[in-house]
Amino acid sequence: MTALTLHPTSLWHVVEHHIRRTRRSWAGLLLSGVLNPIFTMLALGVGIGSQIDDTSSLGTNGYLEFVGPGVLAGSAFLQGGFTALWPTMSQLRWEGAYQNVVRTPCSAAEVLTGHLLWIALRLTFSSSLFLVVLLIGIGWESSFALLVPFIAALTAVSVAAPICAFTARRETDRGFALIARMVVTPLFVLSGTFTNVESFPAAVQAVIKFFPAFHGIELTRMFVNGTSEIGAALGHLAVLAVWIVAGWFAAVLGFQKALTP
């Protein structure tokens, strides 16, 4: 591994590049990143939620209080995972914008880190909008809610980093659909987004708790509903951090191999 010095200006230039690119596609991003999850949350939380009388087994006052934070963090996970597949491949190989960036002073490690920061920034922004709608629906319970957009960003990066490591090692998008359908989407659905994972068999719970989605969702739910326990919160954060750090290292190696062999 070479050139692991990260210059903040180079990281910013990668983020800035994406901001400029987004000026033409912001409507699509707003639809997929904000409106879709909000509609999903409202349909489930308000629609299906109205049919559920007793949510005591979920640990929340109502179903919207349960599913809202779940969809918020779960969507961040989903978007992080998907962005790390085709859009990342496009930048690395198909459009090849990143092939050019490494011909500037910016290194492959900086390109990857800037790429992940852009995903984090985007998810911080879209989750903030989502949070406003959610808090209008369920009311303000805790100041920790202000941290939720950052937790969503961490959740997105915790899946994006390892998948970027996978994407960077591929010549084509073969296997991407499998990752999307068999890993990312099932984890979004099963990691406590819509229902309490405690109702699953122990083995299934163990698998779910190994991956970061569950921990991002649990943290978000705690912070939104004001049920934070410091020990549990730190534990969830630690799992996210391990996925981010390990994924980042693997992705740096992958980006170096892909961009500066």
């Binding site: 070479t2 050139a3 200006t9 180079s10 230039h13 800035e16 590049h17 400029r20 690119r21 033409r24 596609s25 459009e95 090849g96 914008a97 092939q99 050019n100 960036v101 490494v102 011909r103 500037t104 002073p105 910016c106 290194s107 961009l259 500066t260 062999p261």
Partner: protein, 302 residues
């Protein structure tokens, strides 16, 4: 003045495959230096190492006075690269491509804007400034790629097959831009398949084959040392014979026969006198293409 590039025993391997096999290079500041070679000769691998986007397997490489293995960032800040693939950002306009790229070199927005306007003018793309790049013709895209390589006012510009796939007008326009750069004292290193391009643009060149340098010198030196002054191209089915002491070399191709001689007219008379009746005969001066084919062979490399 420091030499622009100094390479010693430079090697690049990909697994078992050796792309560049122990080459030495000395490129002087201000000159235009060409690397010629068939596909797979190691040209692009050499360029990528000089651009510090590919790490040499062994050997030493100094670019603009910096070590390529440890000072890539400093080198890249003074380098302009025109890769084989344009890789323009299709989400951005022509001007935005230049602006965004400028920013990676640490330029302020005001500097980036001024420089982009200047380069749009240089590349004759001012009237296309607000178009998306996928609306541009091949020649325009190539000019934009060259303009993009100049945003940081580089001391060394690397051009990897800059005119491949362009029509003759677009090539001529690009050559004009490259001459202009040369007049400004910018060192240029280019790879090309086009022998006329190398003859037109390069002060010195090397021919690579199989990862090694097989010839080096100015275009005139290489033509003088590797082939005769003139070539006669004959269309004929006759078997061409020449006197052993005539100094004429004969190369029989499928439908053509080539005579290599310092005096083409005399060589033509010589073979006619020995009974050859070609349906057509063209006497021309030797070109780098003859040197290239003599040194790297006529076998097609995909």
């Amino acid at each position: 003045m420091d030499p622009a590039v100094v390479a010693r025993k430079l090697v690049k391997q990909f697994g078992e495959f050796t792309a560049v096999d122990g080459i030495d290079l000395d490129i002087r500041s201000g000159e235009t230096f060409a690397v010629l070679g068939p596909n797979g000769a190691g040209k692009t691998s050499t360029m990528r190492m000089i651009a510090t986007v590919s790490r040499p397997t062994s050997g030493s490489l100094s670019v603009l006075g910096h070590d390529a293995s440890s000072e890539g960032r400093s080198i890249r800040s003074r380098l302009g690269v025109v890769p084989q693939e344009d890789h323009l950002d299709v989400e951005l306009t022509v001007r935005e491509n230049l602006l965004t790229y400028s920013r990676y070199f640490g330029m302020s927005w005001a500097e980036a804007k001024a420089r982009s306007d200047e380069l749009l003018d240089f590349a004759q793309l001012t009237d296309k400034a607000d178009d998306r790049t996928d609306m541009l013709s091949g020649g325009m895209k190539r000019r934009l790629t060259i303009a993009r390589a100049l945003v940081n006012t580089p001391d060394l510009v690397l051009l990897d097959e800059p005119t491949t796939g362009l029509d003759p007008q677009a090539r001529q326009l690009l050559w004009d831009r490259l001459y202009e750069l040369k007049e400004r004292g910018v060192t240029q290193l280019l790879t090309t398949h086009y022998m006329d391009e190398a003859e037109q643009l390069a002060d010195r060149l090397v021919i690579m084959d199989g990862g090694r340098i097989v010839a080096a010198g100015s275009p005139e030196e290489l033509i003088a040392s590797s082939t005769t002054r003139e070539v006669v191209e004959l269309r004929t089915d006759d078997e061409i014979t020449v006197d052993a002491d005539s100094g004429i070399q004969v190369e029989v191709l499928r439908k053509r026969t080539l005579l290599y001689a310092d005096d083409g007219a005399a060589a033509l008379e010589h073979v006619r006198a020995r009974g050859a009746t070609p349906s057509s005969a063209l006497i021309r001066r030797s070109t780098l293409e003859d040197v290239f084919l003599a040194l790297t062979g006529r076998q097609l490399v995909d």
